[in-house]
Amino acid sequence: MAKREQVIATESEQQQATTGDQGSYPKQIRVEEEDPAGFADDPITHSEDTMPEVKSIFREVLPKQGQLSMEDVPTMVLCKPKLLPLKSVTLEKLEKMQMEAQEAVKQQELAMKEQMQ
């Protein structure tokens, strides 16, 4: 019986041990996450101090021979900058006369309205 009890005890111990293991397992992972020691020298994951170009874990391949090809993807086009054309003297005079006439007509209409009242 005693043996059996022992066996049970060892089983329970084992169970405890396994549960303890299970309990400690995430802890270990947390430690791994928190501990930067293993990654401190590695520039790949340490993105804050270095340029983002280095982030890629693939090495750039620059073939020394053969054809270089790239995919031409159509992109949206912006309208071009617009130089404004200068105005001719005639056009400036026309616009000035038009403005003046519009002003004068407005004033006349105002005067008419005042007279009506």
Binding site: P74, M76, V77, L84, P85, L86, L91, L94
Partner: protein, 511 residues
């Protein structure tokens, strides 16, 4: 006692100093005392004419009716290089729309705008009717129609005559005995100019000119030129041509050559106009206006290289010619030489041209010539000199371009938004805004902007092309195809459009 000056002499003095209103006032007083004072009467007509005088060579008033119901055209489809109406017919190889924006008529934008260059000839009736809604006053890119100016001049003339004489018109044309005046050479010319320019009554002017030329036994070139001007205004181009030709037989005058060339341009015969200008140059070697005329025709026929050559000839004769400098400058800018363009525009600044357009151009040239210190201050000055909302919109649009250039997309976004706030029809700003919206991932918004841009400016290829790409990305192949076709119509040589169309055709073939 104070000695007073003879009022007529004083009026003459005012006239010579271009104080036209004072001159007219004094003449009115003289005429009140003595209504039959011919000298005062004649001087007053001249003063009133000068107030509203516009160089007739520059004026071009083509309405929709004249444009669309054109009887004088010889062939429906002109041969390449013989017509001003088909922009793509040049052999000179003008700049592509990919580098230089185009006007509604499909020509590259010019560096200088005159009343006649404003009226880009729309291709269809639909476009012609739609134009005024999208057009602003002096935009060759959006291409204001000539009608706007005509409305302007008519109202100017009417209101001007109304304003100068609140008690009624100075000369009552319907009660005027034209036959009597046509006998008096000293009065008839000033009267004619008054009727033609001030009253804008071409029919009466024509009557007077006809009677006067009869009185001069058809030997006076001046009256023949005036008759030609009247016929031109009335749209009788062949009659106008006869009168100008006849006047040239009597005496060769530069103006007559210019008027005649204008008739040929209206009749869409640029080659004839060019040979006429060459004849004129034989008579008057190195005449600047004739050289400019040749350059303008080359430019309108999309032959920018030879236009630039002629503009350079102009500058050899007259090195302060604003139009030539501006055109050469803009040409350099759009052929990837902004630093040389900058020199031309700086020259204009030295000459005393001081306006919003010039500073805007200087700003752009500075930016693309990598003189960043001057860029923003130029734009600031341009902003300070702005005279209309449309100009302000254009300046904001260009600042947006600079912002795109330096990668400040937030600023660019705001600039394009401001451009739209000042001019709600700014198609280029809509297009660029759409591109920025798509970068932010707002597909619906981007699509809406592109559709607006495409409807506002069907002559630009960019919105159609962008729309086509967008539709293709979201899988709407049919719409993508129609948009790509529109883009191809606007810019047939565009390689990306061709590729896209090819891809889409393959897709459809598989289906």
């Amino acid at each position: 006692m104070e000695v007073t000056m003879d009022p007529l002499f004083l009026a003459w003095s005012y006239f010579r100093r271009r104080k036209l209103q004072q001159c007219s006032d004094i003449c009115t007083k003289i005429l009140q005392d003595n209504p039959y004072d011919q000298a005062a009467w004649s001087l007053k007509t001249r003063a009133l004419t000068e107030m509203v005088y516009i160089d007739e060579v520059e004026v071009d008033q083509e309405g929709i009716a004249e444009m669309m119901l054109d009887e004088s055209s010889i062939a429906q489809v002109a041969r390449p290089g013989t017509s001003l109406r088909l922009p793509g017919t040049s052999q000179g190889g003008g700049p592509t729309p990919a580098v230089r924006p185009v006007t509604q008529s499909g020509r590259p934008i010019t560096g200088f705008v005159r009343p006649s260059t404003q009226s880009g000839r729309p291709g269809t009736m639909e476009q012609a009717i739609k134009t005024p809604r999208t057009a602003s006053t002096a935009r060759p890119v959006t291409s204001a129609s000539g009608r706007f100016i005509r409305l302007g001049t008519v109202s100017v003339h009417e209101s001007a005559s109304m304003l100068t004489n609140p008690d009624g018109p100075f000369i009552n044309l319907s009660r005027l005995n034209l036959a009597k005046y046509s006998q008096k050479p000293s009065l008839s010319r000033t009267l004619f100019e008054f009727i033609f320019h001030h009253e804008n009554d071409v029919k009466n002017a024509l009557d007077l000119a006809a009677q006067a030329t009869e009185h001069a036994q058809f030997k006076d070139w001046w009256w023949k030129v005036q008759l030609g001007k009247c016929y031109y205004r009335l749209g009788l181009y062949r009659e106008a041509e006869k009168q100008f030709r006849s006047a040239l037989n009597h005496q060769a005058v530069v103006d007559t050559y210019l008027y005649l060339a204008k008739v040929y341009q209206r009749l869409d015969q640029p080659i004839t106009a060019l040979s006429l200008f060459k004849q004129g140059l034989d008579q008057f070697p190195g005449e600047v206006t004739l050289l400019t005329g040749i350059a303008r025709i080359h430019e309108e026929m999309n032959n920018i290289a030879s236009a630039t050559e002629y503009y350079k000839d102009v500058l050899k004769q007259d090195n302060t010619h604003v139009e030539a400098i501006a055109c050469i400058g803009s040409n350099h800018f759009y052929t990837d030489q902004p630093e040389i363009a900058l020199r031309f525009y700086r020259r204009l600044l030295q000459m005393g041209v001081y306006n919003c357009q010039l500073y805007n151009n200087l700003g752009l040239c500075c930016f693309y010539a990598q003189q960043y210190d001057m860029t923003l201050s130029s734009f600031e000055r341009a902003m300070a000199l702005v005279s209309s909302d449309e100009e302000q919109a254009d300046v904001w649009y260009n600042i947006g371009q600079v912002a795109v250039g330096i990668g400040d997309l937030a600023l660019a976004y705001q600039c394009f938004k401001l451009a739209l706030a000042f001019n709600n029809d700014h198609a280029e700003a809509y297009n660029n805004l759409a591109v920025l919206e798509l970068r932010k991932g707002r597909i619906e918004q981007s699509k809406a902007f592109l559709q607006t841009a495409a409807s506002l400016a069907p002559h630009m290829y960019e919105p159609h092309f962008n729309l086509s790409i967008l539709y293709e990305k979201i899988g709407d192949l049919q719409n993508s195809y129609t948009a790509a076709q529109k883009s191809e119509d606007a810019f047939p040589e565009h390689v990306d459009t061709q590729q896209l169309l090819k891809q889409l055709r393959q897709h459809f073939a598989v289906l």
